[in-house]
């Protein structure tokens, strides 16, 4: 069953997608984009979780965490010039029980809109 519109999701933003000035739109481009559910693991704990599992190679650092509401994400998809019905599906994995995916193929233009709507957290 898809994740409800009231939930908040997070996406790790590492060195390859953030250069201190801009955010890469490829963060949300394509299909099966990995996200994580904040209702299951707090934002604070996500910093440790992402650092432990995503900082590979060691030169790749977790720079930011992007957060967005699922309902807001779906609204962006619905109102885009080529509308996309976006869903977020639970996909727990061993290292992250809060893992979920956005299965739809997100175009570059739509990914830009999603990136613009993210709340960016720094630590």
């Amino acid at each position: 069953m898809s994740i409800g519109a009231e939930e908040e999701i997070a996406r790790a933003i590492c060195t390859d997608k953030w250069d201190g000035i801009r955010l890469s739109p490829s963060l949300f481009k394509g299909a099966n984009t990995s996200v994580s559910r904040l209702v299951l693991i707090s934002l604070e704990d996500h910093w440790d979780l992402f650092r432990r599992h995503l900082e590979k190679p060691p030169e790749r650092k977790l720079e930011r965490i992007g957060q967005i509401n699922v309902g807001r994400l779906q609204e962006i998809g619905r109102t885009y010039k080529d509308p996309v019905s976006i869903t977020v599906e639970p996909d727990p994995v061993q290292w992250n029980p809060a893992h979920a995916i956005i299965p739809q193929n997100i175009t570059r233009g739509l990914a830009n809109k999603i990136c613009d709507a993210l709340t960016i957290h720094a630590q």
Partner: protein, 154 residues
Amino acid sequence: MTTTIPVARQGVYRFSDDLSEDTIPFTVSAPNPGEIDRENLVLRKLGVRCWGRLYHFRNYYQHGWGDGHGRTLSPRALEIFYRFIEEAAFPQGINPSLFLTDEGHLELCWDSQFGGAVQVEFTPSGAEYFIERLGSEDTVPFTEISVLAKRVLA
């Protein structure tokens, strides 16, 4: 007179297999022809930040980087990226950003002097571009990279 060369004694200590001389390739890495020119090209056109990031993407991001699915930088995508920046005439103060996609492609982003974002993703077969001001998004084969370099900077 004959000199007998002493027979090498079996050492007390031995290297483990992975450190023994037989397994270490004694090669000297020389840059490919034209490599220094290309590094200079990246420095001149995109600046030291992009140059440093490209160095990282080329040398540290091995297959499986990130969550285990990240792909190493595609040599063909890199070649097409070089061709593009050879042709591109970036206006002063553009300050582009360079990213590595999970598929091993390079992505170059900047803000157009006419407003809005411009993005080009270099793939093994060509490039995908997005011009926010025009709302245009498309792909071109590698044979049209020169044309694309002019189009996205016009």
